[in-house]
């Protein structure tokens, strides 16, 4: 499939955006390390949707934006992107860190979401769980924490160890740390606000997630978002869309039922 790559300015913030496919608009918000990676998951979605896949500022091909200091800044940034693209309503799919941004956005403007799919999101304080501190881990430790199937990690492996690549990784880490170092991976205000979400919501979860385990994390999300449905992926860790891309894509397509238009 031809993937269109373009640079655009969102209320003065330059970003890199991938677009492909046809059908209803679907905004995909990536997790840490996922910027600009057009993989089988996106490829499958693009057969049923027009997929918009932006890189968060400071990630992938999007330059750093120092004004982004809080997770809500990113949520507002994506509201601006919807306006910039002239999209009134979209299906929103967010994975991990991208799920956190998507949930923040959904608490602000649920009416602009035809549906919301969260894949192993972080972003809320879950009783009885403290997220392991990825910033203090080396690569093997991160892979062991994030992936149930470590071979799936190869899709996110850096192309080389050049100064350019290392500088990009550092920039991505800094952009992530700026909004998530402390409190680590959550916004203390978000959990209570999840009750405002009115969009139909699917929560996807890897059965073997070690960063945000199925129990107690998935259950908390399902309870806090009114009417949310939970679907578990038996052979996945924290990133089912990388570990079981076909199954997760089918689940998204099935849930959003694009053939009937808006749900």
């Amino acid at each position: 499939m031809t993937v269109e790559r373009r640079e655009l300015s969102v209320r003065g913030t330059p970003i890199h955006l991938l677009t492909a496919g046809a059908g209803p608009a679907l905004l995909f918000l990536h997790g840490a390390g996922g910027a600009g990676r057009w993989l089988p998951f996106q490829e499958r979605l693009a057969k049923s949707f027009t997929v918009y896949f932006p890189s968060h500022p400071g990630h992938g091909g999007s330059p750093d934006a120092s004004w982004i200091e809080h997770i809500s800044d990113l949520a507002f940034h994506y509201l601006d992107l919807l306006d910039e693209l002239g999209l009134d309503r979209v299906h929103l799919v967010g994975a991990s860190f991208g799920g956190w941004i998507g949930a923040e956005l959904a608490t602000m403007v649920s009416h602009r979401l035809q549906s919301l799919v969260l894949i192993d999101p972080v972003g809320i304080k879950v009783d009885g769980w403290i997220y392991p501190f990825l910033f203090g881990m080396d690569v093997p430790e991160v892979v062991a924490t994030v992936f149930h199937n470590p071979m799936a990690a190869l899709a996110l492996a850096p192309p080389d160890q050049s100064i350019e690549t290392l500088a990009l990784q550092y920039r991505q880490g800094a952009a992530l740390a700026r909004v998530s170092w402390n409190p680590y991976l959550y916004d203390p205000l978000l959990r209570r606000r999840l009750a405002r979400i009115t969009a139909p919501t699917l929560v996807c979860w890897g059965a073997h997630d070690r960063l945000a385990p199925l129990v107690p994390c998935s259950e908390t999300w399902r309870k806090e978002i009114p009417g949310a449905r939970l679907q578990v992926f038996a052979d996945s860790g924290h990133v089912p869309h990388l570990e079981e891309p076909a199954a997760v894509a089918e689940a998204v397509i099935d849930f959003c039922r694009p053939e009937t238009g808006a749900r």
Partner: protein
């Protein structure tokens, strides 16, 4: 040249853990041993004043066996009452690590008043690992440092009360009691490892720059940049703005000194600074420009330094008194450093005190052309 006795107050131990920082379990810390060590180290610092050292240095580190002084101000407080002449150089307080940096302005002022104006106040960001042990966001480090420094300097120099409304620190009333004794305020030093942003910041304010554990070629380069920056700001750097921290081992013979350095100085690099790699590089702690410079030079991690490399690159000085005198000439005459901060370890309490005596007797007097000069006059403020 002026001599300052520098202490890390390490908890010297061997272990096989991957990191001496952040995650090295404090179950290894035996408070009974700690009691011996603290008192032994304080004895050394007090003795250094008696032997003729001009200053005594303490510093802040957290959660490690490398340096067990989470609060340098506590140690300086003990020294303030047990010494009477030496400068008390606190190198320094980690400004961005504090939620309330006004507390630093207060504590330094207390120490300055009690000690009769002997305090030197180091302003540091705290090393990388400290952002893991305090949970402070490393991406805020630089901004918090500049803002806290401004707050503290204003708190020392402006009549209170006044409001302060920064991005990170906000106070309706800034009005610390006591005020510092030294005017306009205690000298400020910038201990650093050579980021160009810090060189610039320190040079602009006439704050002495202290190179810590750095190869000699890099010291020469950074001193050059600092001196050049001072010229750009319209003045010539005093030699007392150029300070250096280098460990020294001196013994009656070169061979004996080499043996002591190999054992005790190398412990600091190989064990004390052994760090799980992610702790060296928290995201956003360095500017991207500094990161690229670092990647381009890719210096060896201290834990990987061999003694031969450390020796060759000038990370340390060791030898008989005559050899040490020759080596220190490089610092005094070639680098034109005004102040040499050094820690020493001979192993046991007695051996360390003997090493200090030997240094004070046979090395120090050869560098005393400036005995009458007050190194803090006109610098650091």
């Amino acid at each position: 040249m002026k001599f300052y006795y520098f202490h890390l107050m390490p908890y010297v131990m061997d272990h096989d853990e991957p990191s001496s920082w952040v995650t090295l379990s404090n179950r290894y810390y035996d408070p009974k041993v700690g009691q011996q060590l603290y008192n032994q180290y304080l004895d050394q610092l007090e003795y250094a004043e008696k032997l003729g050292w001009d200053g005594l240095c303490v510093n802040e580190h957290h959660q490690n066996c490398y340096g067990t002084m989470p609060s340098p101000n506590v140690m300086a407080a003990m020294l303030a009452r047990r010494t009477s002449r030496a400068k008390l150089a606190i190198l320094g307080n980690g400004l961005p690590l504090r939620e309330n940096p006004l507390r630093i302005a207060e504590e330094i002022a207390m120490l300055d008043v009690v000690s009769g104006g002997r305090v030197i106040s180091g302003f540091v960001r705290g090393i990388s690992a400290e952002y893991f042990s305090t949970a402070m966001n490393p991406t805020h480090s630089r901004e918090r440092f500049y803002e806290a420094a401004e707050l503290i300097l204003r708190a020392w120099t402006e009549e209170g009360p006044f409001p302060f409304d920064g991005k990170y620190y906000r106070y309706p009333y800034v009005n610390p009691w006591p005020r510092p004794l030294q005017k306009p305020h205690p000298p400020v030093w910038c201990p650093s490892q050579g980021s160009s942003e810090t060189v610039e910041w320190a040079a602009k304010r006439r704050f002495p720059y202290l190179m810590v554990f750095t190869p000699i070629k890099r010291i020469a380069q950074i001193y050059g940049e600092y001196r050049e920056a001072c010229e750009r700001y319209g003045y010539t750097a005093s030699r007392y703005q150029l300070t250096v921290n280098v460990p020294i081992a001196v013994a009656p013979t070169d061979a004996k000194a080499r043996e002591l350095a190999q054992k005790h100085v190398m412990w600091v690099f190989n064990v004390g600074l052994r760090m799980h790699p992610p702790f060296w590089r928290p995201p956003g702690y360095l500017t991207e420009a500094s990161l690229r410079r670092l990647l381009a030079t890719s210096p060896k991690l201290p834990s990987e330094l061999t003694f031969e490399e450390a020796d060759r690159e000038g990370y340390l000085v060791y030898g008989s008194p005559a050899t040490v005198r020759d080596k220190l000439r490089v610092f005094s005459d070639e680098l034109r450093a005004g102040i040499l901060c050094s820690g020493m370890s001979g192993g046991s309490r007695e051996e360390t005190l003997e090493m200090m005596e030997l240094f004070a007797r046979e090395v120090m007097p050869h560098f005393r052309e400036d005995a009458h000069v007050d190194e803090t006059a006109g610098v650091g403020r």
